[in-house]
């Protein structure tokens, strides 16, 4: 009998796409699936429906870093109840820190960028994880208990016929770090969340200047979508990090993705090639973005984008 812990950030809505994906995956790996979150519990009906068998909710003091609190709590839990055969975590900042610290505490290997995972009949795990910036997949045999950081949208969530799970409150772990959170800044957002928006319009270096990103926002707004970005313009400081799509940023899979002046480095493609339809505008006919685009226009994005906005606005108006 295998025990799998699923570590996933809480959601104001009481459930999240990420929780659904990870619990579904965990259900295929072990008989005992314990959902671990912090601050606020997940809806116990939802947790049960996706296959969790218990939920741990770690008390989180907002003045401390999530990883510092959660790792201590999980360590104390495992000392009492035994440590799990596998831990699956989402690919967020806090989760990566949790995985890092737990790997040291429990002397376990970490596999990141996981897109597939199964329990081997004998013992251990076989994981599939993205390498080479997402161009290849490494099939890896993992011998013993391990930590797996799973990429978003790698698993199709599914439910089973099961009742609600019990929630167990877990006290914050004893202080492991003297780091303190002094303040929080939440970026204001209009329109849908980038990761779940039905339409994503993203801008890249081809826009030529930070001011022109407003066209990306405008088209996104008109189409009821969200604005994304390539790493190049995030690094250049044109837009905040939370807009980045790709290996190190968000993974999106909208109905349509419109890439405006993005060349399409492998690291960007990995974050968006699960989109149902891809439209690309780029002046370089050989840009890699065209290899994944369903509809590509070779041309100057600074000319085409304003025209497109006018056309969309006209149709929306009529």
């Amino acid at each position: 009998m295998s025990t799998v812990w699923v570590v996933v950030e809480p959601s104001e809505e009481g459930w999240s796409e990420s929780a659904g994906e990870l619990v579904t995956l965990a259900r295929s790996l072990g008989d005992v699936v314990r959902l671990v979150t912090w601050s606020s519990p997940f809806d116990s009906l939802e947790a049960g429906r996706y296959g969790a068998t218990l939920q741990y909710v770690v008390a989180h003091d907002e003045s401390r870093l999530v990883a510092d609190v959660v790792v201590g709590a999980l360590d104390e839990l495992s000392a009492r109840e035994g440590s799990p055969d596998a831990v699956v975590l989402s690919s967020t900042y806090d989760s990566r820190d949790i995985a890092g610290r737990l790997s040291v505490r429990w002397s376990r290997t970490v596999v990141a960028n996981v897109v597939g995972l199964r329990h081997l009949d004998g013992d251990g795990w076989e994981s599939e994880h993205l390498v080479a910036g997402g161009a290849r997949i490494a099939h890896t045999r993992v011998q013993s208990a391990a930590l797996f950081i799973v990429r978003p949208k790698s698993v199709t969530p599914s439910t089973i016929d099961a009742g609600p799970v019990e929630s167990v409150d877990v006290p914050a772990g004893s202080a492991t770090s003297s780091a303190r959170v002094l303040s929080r800044m939440v970026e204001e957002r209009e329109g849908p969340d980038l990761e779940s928006a039905p339409v994503v319009v993203s801008g890249g270096r081809g826009l030529g200047s930070a001011e022109r990103y407003q066209w990306v926002d405008e088209l996104a707004r008109l189409l009821g979508g969200a604005g994304g970005a390539s790493r190049a313009i995030v690094d250049a400081g044109w837009v905040p990090y939370s807009r980045q799509v790709g290996q190190t940023g968000k993974t999106v899979a909208p109905t349509v993705y419109v890439a405006c002046g993005i060349s399409g480095a492998t690291q960007h493609l990995v974050g968006m090639k699960g989109s149902s339809h891809i439209v690309a505008i780029n002046k370089d006919p050989d840009a890699p973005i065209f290899q994944v685009a369903d509809f590509g226009v070779v041309g100057d994005v600074t000319t085409i984008l304003p025209q497109l906005i006018d056309l969309v606005r006209a149709r929306r108006g009529s």
Partner: protein, 253 residues
């Protein structure tokens, strides 16, 4: 204050990626300093300058080719510590963290700076692992770093914005790409880098035991599923209308 910047030589990103039969990345071609590390080195130099300290470089890599580390030294680091041992080939992030934590102890550093993830491995857990091994706080995913009166303060990325987080020394910091503008090495720096001390240590000298390669073993490397390219037109004034028509055909417009 002594600041240690952890860096990694990676295959030249402009060359095609190749894997050996053992599933490991082929590192026989030209290696360069991971671009992500240039931000870490820059942050380390600024922290040292702000406190009248110095920067050392730490790396787990093949000491046969020191040129990627020399480029970090040329930016202004004073010395380098390199863990080099054939048994470390294919090591997982935890092993790498154990090795680097040992180099931190050797260097006597008070602040360790890393990138958020390497351009070849992309695990993104190393800073937290090194911090845990040392028993230090980890200020990770930082887009701005400052130090004052023995306290390091960073702006940390979160899923929805940023947090301001601080910790007293000693601590580990990981910095995001683009957080600072890395300086170019001057001619004087490049010349000086050639004579900066480089300490090379193997596993035995680091006091570390054998590496268990069975914890993770790559069985096969396959191409990630691709996507077929669709229609491509050249804009001659009709591009925007063609996109609008396409959006209409898929019922988005």
């Amino acid at each position: 204050m002594k600041v240690l910047a952890c860096v990694k030589p990676v295959p030249d990103p402009s060359a095609p990626v190749a894997y050996g039969g053992d599933g490991r990345l082929d590192r026989r071609g030209k290696l360069v300093l991971d671009e992500a590390d240039s931000y870490g080195v820059e942050v380390a130099l600024r922290l040292a300058e702000a406190t009248g300290g110095s920067v050392a470089i730490a790396s787990m890599s093949d000491a046969g080719d020191l040129s990627p580390l020399r480029s970090a030294l040329a930016m202004g680091a004073e010395e380098a510590f390199v863990a080099s041992d054939p048994r470390l080939g294919g090591a997982d992030a935890l092993t790498t963290a154990r090795v680097l934590a040992e180099l931190v102890r050797r260097a006597g550093a008070e602040v360790v700076v890393t990138a958020t993830e390497s351009a070849d491995g992309y695990t993104g857990t190393l800073a937290a692992q090194v911090a845990e091994l040392l028993g230090w706080p980890a200020l990770t995913f930082a887009s701005a770093v400052s130090v004052e009166d023995g306290v390091v303060t960073v702006k940390r990325q979160s899923e929805s914005g940023t947090l301001e987080v601080s910790a007293p020394l000693p601590c580990v910091v990981s910095v995001t790409a683009g957080s600072v503008e890395p300086r170019y090495a001057t001619f004087k720096g490049i010349v000086a880098a050639k004579s900066r001390p480089v300490t090379v240590l193997d596993l035995a000298e680091l006091g570390l035991g054998p590496v268990d390669h069975d914890v993770q073993r790559v069985v096969e490397i396959v191409e990630a599923p691709g996507r077929a390219a669709g229609e491509k037109i050249v804009d001659e004034g009709q591009g925007a209308a063609a996109i609008a028509a396409y959006l209409e055909s898929i019922k988005v417009l």
